[in-house]
């Protein structure tokens, strides 16, 4: 049917000619009139700076200006843009120069992964066009429709206010020449601000086919796929449907080399809602229109195991017959002394059961990428945290030797552990190999949420004892983790949690156990902290219980028991260096005292006035081992010099927003004694950069950073050797030459005379670092980590005791990072970790089938964040580069305990199930009033 009234604008094939102005230039497109404007911009006009995070107006990543007002381009049908004036992020920079907002974002560190940045910039541009000197509240209202998962929003607000001349500039470096320790703006920042940074969905070959994965609608089901001839006949644009039978190699992947239990495409049985069933490959229009209902899949729903309690019941269906214990993937254990006896003998005991939920990573960039067959090899371009692990998985699924696979990470729009597992890489590689065509896949938001890993829900039973003097005596803790349908990182979580069970405290008698238990839920995997945040909620709450029993100050109780250098941990490890726990607590203590007193005074006044508002201040502490638990996890780095004297760092430590593409050059420059601007970089490409391991476990600064230092030192050693100079000779890099200066004598290496090696290198240094650890015995005894991060955070909240709502007001975070290689980036990690810890504490709960989008699944917005102040404690770690250790995960761990402690201080309510949604908080307040727990 044709609309006669608009017939003149319509072409024969349902397209319509539309004209509008984009960034000042007149543009004309012929597109379906109902096509989302976001896709028109990205696909038809070549402007991928406008990002797509949800297609539902929930995330704001696609915010553009439409006739001068901010709009989500994903909610605008193309026809409505006819005649309009459109501005996108690509229109902000003029002649290659960033505008004042972009500059401010860069200087303040307001862009981390950068995927939300275009939306933030456009919303802020709208604000600044309407308001000369906005306040922080006005900025938050104007930008409140854009979600960020990395920054915790504070630096974004600061950047907007600075750009508007209504806020301070960022702190400057005291020493302008330093490399390590400098507040250097991220080196990949400009591309994230002008829209040119290519993320997984931003680049694709023109002739590519498109792929969509069809997923199980049931938690547990069997299925058969009928004859496909009719589907092919009805859909001429459908190129091929892949099923399990098409997988050339092993139809399975998984983090552990011996547990490849997750099928690329399920073979007749699905174990969770979201399990991949088949893959549709075809032209874009076909893939956009072909719904699951068109496919001849016969489903038989099977009884599903939906929680760990049911899973442990021997009568429940076994998910994986290979397991020795019914539905138990693995158990973890650390034992030191006789915890049970010691608890019985303790003057004070606190115990409880704690429950946490599935938590979704909610990176704003859904999984995306493409694969190409190149001769007898396959190249995969996709967002990832772990290119070399992807390489191994893809090769295994293809049945190839690893040399035949190349992984090129695109920019990664957030990961947080969720992009450690492969997602679309194996199926894309298979599709490209079998069709001999480039094949692209972009998950939509529900696809991403349904299929990807989650934080493990934990059910924790714990008891903690103390003597009359408030010294901890014993801990017994058992954590059952819902590890979902497949193994993923379940063993890591089950192993890491018992090791960290005591928190950063001296506890002489410990029995800490765990189990990762399969259910018909999404696979639980790696999420910032590997289970430690869940454990901290339990143990920190028990610390608050003990403080009450002892009538002790919660902070002083923690300080009395804080691990110190020379102490022995529950695994028997004596930690000699970089144990800044007490320093962190001492750093927050003055504010703690003031805030507690202010809150208590405010509550007395509120009570007198009959106001329902109560304030409270809580503290959370944490320790966190950097790197893999008792397992080798080396990083390799290469630094090369070419004939012109140019230095290149081959940096495979993938930057997912945290800043490894800035940190590593800083360390390299410091070691070589050159400005950071002298370091060129080749990043993340398994054909070009050595294996720097995965971006996880807070290991990159510590492990890969040390490897960079080793590589740079190896280069210096090679230079000294060539110059026949001693180890103390100073090295100077010049144009085309390197000087070794010793005892006032200059020895010159003319680079042009040297033979060229790989990539034009004439001199190079390789570095490798693998943190020194040992295995753990059956009682978990050994050295699981080479170093630990420590932190204390205090949070103030306001609780509405009539509604149970909680508003975080301010938070002070003291973190022992060994050495802050880049304080701005460290603060960024802390801010973002606090935001995710706050989400864990107050609002985040993933429920399969119910919260598969970003309006039912809530993450913190601009308005939910407290003001955050950071104190960086630098107790140097001798194994780390210039003393540095990790911060990524430590940032998140103490936040939820601090918030829950603050709720308790404000109201007496003890929260043992998170998220602390208003109805749960209100119930806890009522229970506290009734005198019960």
């Amino acid at each position: 049917m044709t609309d006669a009234l608009d017939a003149d604008r319509e072409t024969a094939n349902g397209l319509e000619d539309l004209r509008f102005t984009v960034n000042g230039a007149a543009r004309r497109v012929s597109v379906p009139p109902g096509k989302r404007l976001s896709r028109v911009l990205r696909e038809d006009l070549g402007l991928p700076g406008t990002k797509v995070g949800c297609d539902a107006g929930d995330c704001g990543a696609c915010t553009i200006l439409l006739d001068g007002r901010q709009a989500c381009a994903c909610l605008v049908p193309a026809a409505q843009a006819d005649g309009a004036e459109i501005r996108t992020v690509e229109g902000l920079a003029q002649d290659g120069a960033l505008d004042r907002l972009q500059e401010a974002f860069l200087k303040h560190g307001a862009a981390q992964c950068g995927i939300c940045t275009p939306g933030m910039l456009m919303a802020a541009t709208d604000l600044l066009a309407r308001c000369d000197r906005p306040t922080a509240d006005e900025a938050m209202d104007a930008l409140g429709g854009v979600l960020c998962r990395c920054t915790g929003y504070q630096k974004i607000v600061e950047a907007v206010l600075d750009a508007a001349g209504n806020g301070p500039a960022p702190p400057a470096d005291a020493d302008g020449t330093a490399a390590v320790g400098a507040r250097l703006a991220r080196l990949d920042g400009a591309a994230k601000l002008d829209g040119s940074e290519p993320y997984g969905a931003d680049v694709w070959p023109a002739d590519c086919l498109h792929l969509r994965v069809v997923r199980s609608p049931y938690a547990h089901a069997t299925f058969t796929i009928g004859a496909l001839d009719e589907v092919y006949a009805r859909w001429p644009g459908l190129h091929r449907i892949l099923t399990a039978a098409d997988i050339p190699g092993q139809n399975g992947f998984g983090i552990y080399p011996t547990i490849k239990d997750q099928p690329v495409l399920a073979d007749g049985r699905t174990l969770y809602r979201g399990d991949a069933v088949c893959a549709l490959i075809g032209d874009a229009a076909t893939i956009d229109a072909l719904t699951d209902a068109e496919l001849p899949i016969e489903w038989t729903e099977e009884p599903a195991v939906l929680d760990v309690h049911a899973a442990l019941d021997p009568a429940s269906p076994p998910l994986h017959p290979r397991l020795e214990e019914h539905n138990v993937l693995i158990r973890g254990r650390v034992r030191a002394g006789e915890a049970e006896t010691a608890l019985a003998d303790s003057a004070h005991r606190a115990e409880g059961r704690f429950q946490t939920a599935f938590v979704e990573h909610a990176y704003i960039e859904p999984e995306a990428g493409y694969a190409v067959r190149v001769g007898d090899r396959v190249h995969v371009y996709a967002c990832t945290q772990a290119p070399y692990m992807d390489l191994e998985e893809v090769a295994n699924v293809l049945g190839f030797e690893q040399e035949r696979v190349r992984i090129v990470p695109t920019a990664c729009g957030g990961g947080f552990g969720g992009k450690l597992d492969v997602s679309l890489q194996p199926i894309l590689a298979v599709a490209a190999w079998l069709t001999d065509r480039p094949v692209r896949c972009v998950y939509d938001r529900p696809d991403s949420m349904r299929s990807s890993t989650k934080r493990h829900p934990a059910r924790i039973d714990a008891a903690l004892g103390a003597d009359e003097a408030g010294r901890l005596t014993a801990l017994r803790l058992h954590a059952d983790f819902d590890t979902g349908a497949y193994a993923s990182w379940g063993p890591t979580v089950a192993g890491r949690v018992p090791v960290h069970a005591t928190g950063p405290y001296r506890v002489p008698q410990v029995l800490a156990t765990s189990a990762a238990i399969h259910t018909n839920a999404p696979p639980s995997g790696a999420f910032r902290g590997f289970g430690v945040p869940q454990g901290a909620i339990a143990v920190e709450s028990l610390m608050d219980d003990l403080a009450e029993r002892l009538e002790a100050d919660p902070l002083e109780l923690r300080l009395r028991n804080a691990l110190r250098a020379g102490d022995r941990t529950a695994t028997g490890q004596v930690i000699e260096h970089s144990v800044g726990m007490a320093a962190c607590l001492e750093a927050v203590r003055p504010a703690w005292t003031d805030w507690r007193a202010e809150a208590e005074a405010a509550n007395r006044a509120a009570e007198a006035e009959g106001s329902p508002t109560r304030r409270g201040v809580g503290v959370g502490c944490m320790w966190y081992g950097c790197g893999n638990t008792s397992m080798s996890n080396p990083s390799h780095m290469r630094v090369a010099v070419d004939r012109r004297g140019r230095i290149t760092l081959y940096n495979g430590a993938v930057d997912i927003g945290q800043g490894t593409y800035t940190i590593m050059p800083q360390i390299c420059a410091e070691t070589l004694g050159v400005p950071v601007s002298e370091i060129r970089q080749v990043t993340g490409d398994t054909d070009a950069t050595p294996d720097a391991g995965k971006t996880s476990a807070s290991r990159q600064t510590f492990v890969s950073g040390r490897a960079v230092k080793e590589a740079a030192e190896a280069l210096l050693a090679e230079i000294r050797r060539r110059a026949n100079a001693g180890p103390d000779a100073a090295i100077r890099f010049e144009d085309g030459a390197i000087l070794a200066i010793e005892d006032g004598v200059e020895k010159r290496i003319a680079l042009a005379d040297l033979p060229e090696g790989a990539d034009g290198a004439v001199l190079e240094g390789f570095g490798r670092f693998d943190p020194p650890t040992t295995g753990l015995d059956a009682d978990g005894q050994g050295v699981p980590y080479a170093t630990y991060g420590f932190a204390a955070q205090i949070a103030e909240v306001e609780v509405d005791v009539e509604l149970g709502t909680v508003t975080p007001i301010r938070l002070l975070a003291a973190h022992d990072v060994g050495r802050a290689v880049n304080p701005t980036l460290v603060e960024g990690q802390i801010h973002g970790g606090v935001a995710q810890g706050l989400g864990l504490a107050l609002m985040e709960e993933y429920i399969p089938g119910r919260t598969e989008n970003l309006h039912d699944y809530l993450i913190p917005t601009f308005g939910d964040m407290p003001t955050i102040e950071c104190i960086l404690i630098e107790d140097p770690e001798p194994e780390g580069p210039y003393g540095a250790k990790g911060i990524g995960e430590p940032a998140l761990v103490p936040t939820a305990p601090a918030i829950l402690g603050a709720i308790r201080h404000a109201t007496g309510a003890v929260i043992r199930e998170v998220p602390a949604l208003p109805h749960r908080v209100l119930a806890a307040i009522e229970a506290a009033r009734a005198g019960g727990r």
């Binding site: 309407r130 209202d141 149970g804 909680v806 989008n853 039912d856 308005g863």
Partner: protein, 301 residues
């Protein structure tokens, strides 16, 4: 039908002619339309009313204010309106982010008929009516009669909602909207309340209209409470008159956002607070995720 058809007429009669031919999905700002169509989608017929420019804007008539069907939340925020519109303006500032406010329409919010639609309690508390036009003519329906159930309305497939009419109150009136959610911005309500009070010359309540959203399949007025308030002094303490029995009309569900019992409790607290604020009592609500939305000043003009 094998292809998506997207009609975008420029005149109302053209739009009604298309609707008379066959059912079409009506699309205005797209803020509910596209979120319901994430992922592969079958073809459908769409009536895009964005070119019906005559339907946009707020018009004052002798007896009523009329909001054209294409009036956006931002249009309401920026319009110069009497104080009894305050609730609607407050709700407008809490619908999604500014992006949504700029594009989403109040009429679309009503037609989508979500139990958590932010505009509905405010419009119920304003005694609003809707105008439904078709080739057969135009009819008016009280909003409460228009909303027939969970995501269901009395609109016939051949009808287009063309306007929302808010009758002018008989007495000086003020209104207030409070929304409770688990976060500050971009949040779907756990419960929300809109209250309009008309004041008599002696300072007592001449009329009260109170509606609660997200606590039933459709937002509900609280007639028992409204009756109980008439004649009471419009002064601090008014909120204390809210009794559990006044909320008997609510039938909330428990879901991912809150339990059913909590919703009823919250509705009572929010109602009391809305009344207390209107009566000039001390503002008692905490800031943050509850009961007070983005600041008015944030929509810098």
């Amino acid at each position: 039908m094998t292809e998506t058809v997207h009609h975008r007429p420029h005149r109302l009669d053209e739009a009604l002619a298309l609707l008379a031919e066959r059912p079409l999905t009506v699309l205005a700002g797209g803020t509910d339309h596209f979120p319901a169509r994430v992922g592969p989608r079958p073809p459908e017929g769409v009536l895009d009313i964005s070119a019906l420019t005559a339907l946009r804007g707020v018009r004052e008539e002798p007896e009523a204010y009329v909001l054209g069907a294409r009036t956006t939340w931002t249009d309401v925020i920026e319009a110069d309106l009497p104080p009894w519109f305050d609730a609607l303006k407050q709700a407008a500032r809490e619908v999604g982010g500014v992006q949504i406010q700029n594009r989403g329409t109040l009429a679309g919010n009503l037609c989508n008929a979500s139990p958590a639609a932010d505009g509905t309690p405010c419009l119920l508390a304003a005694d609003a009516e809707v105008e439904l036009a078709s080739r057969a003519g135009t009819r008016r329906l009280a909003l409460a009669d228009f909303l027939t159930g969970y995501r269901a309305t009395a609109r016939r497939p051949d009808e287009l909602l063309t306007a929302i009419r808010l009758p002018k109150p008989a007495n000086p009136a003020r209104s207030r909207f409070v929304k409770l959610g688990a976060r500050r911005y971009l949040v779907i309500s756990i419960a929300m309340v809109a209250a309009t009070l008309e004041g008599a010359a002696d300072g007592s309540v001449a009329a009260a209209r109170i509606a609660v959203g997200a606590c039933s399949a459709t937002a509900q007025r609280l007639p028992a409470l409204e009756a109980a308030l008439i004649g009471r002094p419009c002064a601090p303490g008014l909120g204390a008159l809210v009794e559990p029995a006044h909320l008997a009309a609510l039938s909330p569900i428990g879901d991912v956002r809150a339990s059913a019992a909590y919703r009823v409790h919250a509705a009572r607290v929010l109602t009391a607070r809305a009344l207390e604020t209107l009566a000039g009592g001390a503002p008692r609500a905490a800031s943050g995720p509850t009961a007070s939305g983005p600041t008015a000043s944030g929509r810098a003009a």
